[in-house]
């Protein structure tokens, strides 16, 4: 039985209808608001690195203020002595950068795994999907957090933190009547800042892009425990390969992806951002792994968009 409710409306004066001027809203504006929305929801994105930065600055202040003068003197003169004492003056700055990078790395992992899962878990996806923001824009805004925003934020917070540390260092030395020449000229902070930016863009954004997009895809797909779905299948696959084929290609592949391309060792880049460039940009850009990774990232992202668009939201 298919009755129809097609009773025509009794005549209402159509002429009265004032067509409201509909403001045009560009996709860029929608993307901007969507990213803002992500920051409202996930305040850890900026609070976590800021909290760690505050902790680092306090700790640094405490240690510099309490440090015995003779150690500081030896630490402030350049040359062989530093290495003997193990007190390279750049060391606290490098540790600060590493801590901040580690923090935002963790934030990125948890953010990406929850980005498209949380909205389904709390059903708010039905609210978001009632608004004229396309799934493309929404997923891109979420991908922009680990791919663009967090690397840049990490860099900015690190640079500011290191500047404050240097200020503390200089003031304390000055107050205690110590020579600050080595601090003012000897620390390669500007160079390190550039290297850090390069490292964050090259490794954390571009090299890790397939990881972030894989996490986003799993968060769009998993009905529960996206963390397990994101991590267990590759591990199980690797173990299966070892048992059946007695080879370790899957683990090699995973290790290569996490470790980074040859010469850009994540940890060496983190901890000793001193003199040498970890990997020349031309060399990095000509690494095939970068491009296959980016292609993979694009596939994962496209799949995540399709899932959000075409799958039943709940």
């Amino acid at each position: 039985m298919t009755p129809q409710t097609d009773a025509l409306p009794t005549s209402f004066p159509d002429a009265e209808r004032t067509t409201t001027a509909v403001a045009h809203i560009s996709e860029a504006r929608r993307l901007f608001w969507s990213i803002r929305r992500e920051l409202w929801e996930n305040r850890a994105i900026y609070l976590a690195p800021l909290a760690v930065a505050a902790f680092i600055i306090l700790g640094f202040f405490y240690s510099v203020a309490r440090m015995p003068a003779d150690i500081m003197i030896t630490s402030s003169v350049n040359g062989v002595e530093q290495v003997h004492h193990g007190l390279d003056p750049i060391l606290p700055y490098t540790i600060a950068a590493g801590l901040l990078m580690g923090t935002t790395f963790l934030v990125a992992i948890f953010y990406s795994l929850d980005a498209l899962y949380g909205e389904r878990r709390d059903r708010s996806i039905l609210f978001w999907k009632s608004l004229p923001v396309s799934d493309l824009t929404t997923v891109l805004s979420k991908a922009a957090i680990p791919l663009v925003l967090l690397p840049l934020l990490t860099w900015a917070v690190t640079v500011v933190t290191q500047a404050i540390m240097l200020l503390i260092n200089l003031s304390v030395f000055h107050l205690r009547g110590l020579d600050t020449t080595a601090l003012r000229t000897g620390l390669p902070l500007t160079q390190n800042a550039m290297l850090l930016l390069y490292h964050l863009v090259a490794i954390h954004a571009l090299w890790y892009a397939p990881i972030w997009c894989w996490f986003l895809l799993v968060s769009a797909w998993a009905r529960r425990t996206p963390l397990l779905w994101a991590t267990l299948p590759p591990i199980v696959l690797g173990v299966l390969e070892m048992i059946t084929l007695h080879s370790g290609h899957v683990f090699e592949f995973l290790k290569y992806r996490i470790h980074g391309p040859e010469g850009s060792d994540v940890f060496s880049a983190n901890m000793s951002m001193s003199s040498h460039m970890p990997l020349a940009p031309t060399q990095f850009l000509s690494t095939p792994g970068l491009w296959t990774g980016l292609a993979l990232a694009a596939v994962f992202l496209a799949a995540a968009i399709q899932l959000r668009r075409y799958r039943n939201p709940l």
């Binding site: 298919t2 409710t5 608001w33 609210f127 009632s130």
Partner: protein, 305 residues
Amino acid sequence: MITIQATGLHKSYGSAVALNSIDLNVAEGRILGLIGPNGAGKTTLLNAILGLTAYQGELSVLGRNPWTQRDQLMADVAFVADVAVLPRWMRVSDAIDFVAGIHPRFDRAKAEAFLARTTIKRTSKVRELSKGMVAQLHLALVMSIDARLLVLDEPTLGLDILFRKQFYDSLLNDYFDHHRTIVITTHQIDEIQYILTDLLFIDRGNLVFGCSMDDFDTRYLELITNPAQLPAARALKPIQERQTFGRSILLYDRVPREQLAPLGDVRTPSIADVFVAFIGNPNQPAPYSPPPVPNPPSSYTGAAQ
């Protein structure tokens, strides 16, 4: 102008049929009540209209295919899927800012005016609001969108009678302007009776009944009669019969009032009465078999009395 046009709209989940090839036309300026028991296919139908679920058959909403042209469609459609879907972490002011930021048809001043009538604070987070306040906020947002189609799926579920009354009044007085189309599903049928222009019953994936409220008011009559007059009353072919306190209540379709009046008290039935007649009795229409009404219809009418 037809707002929603469906031809052979079909949807099944495996072997379970959620929508059984239904045809539907909803014209502009109508307020359609979509009524049906749980699991009847209401939400599936709404999801198809909103481009949230795939379907077979033809479906056009405001001239667009909701599945393939969803992004464009959502600029003209507003919906409240469930009162509980506002994100709990969101601040009231953020919610307004966000919708104002992305929606070309959102009127911020209107939303502020709606909220000014409530006790909702701009700085509160959704999780700090009561259930009624969350619904008020959501409806304030939705009613400030100059949409051509508004879909409300159980908008007042779990809210108290005062709020529900206020909501439907506001919907009719502040929002509806005869150029919008509204589709509502609810279990509190009788509360929306006075605002609807059209009525549609859905049961097990089929549209089992549909008419305009003007028709409804003229077609259906209920007769309350004594056992003595029951045979005469049954001869007029009621579409449903039930017993209350020793008296029989019979529901008629297109039987003139004058014919019924001598047999007892005649009154206009509520939507719920007709709903129960169509859906509460699996054997309908079976005029002469005294229906074995297993559950008293009061479960549907209770809210309205």
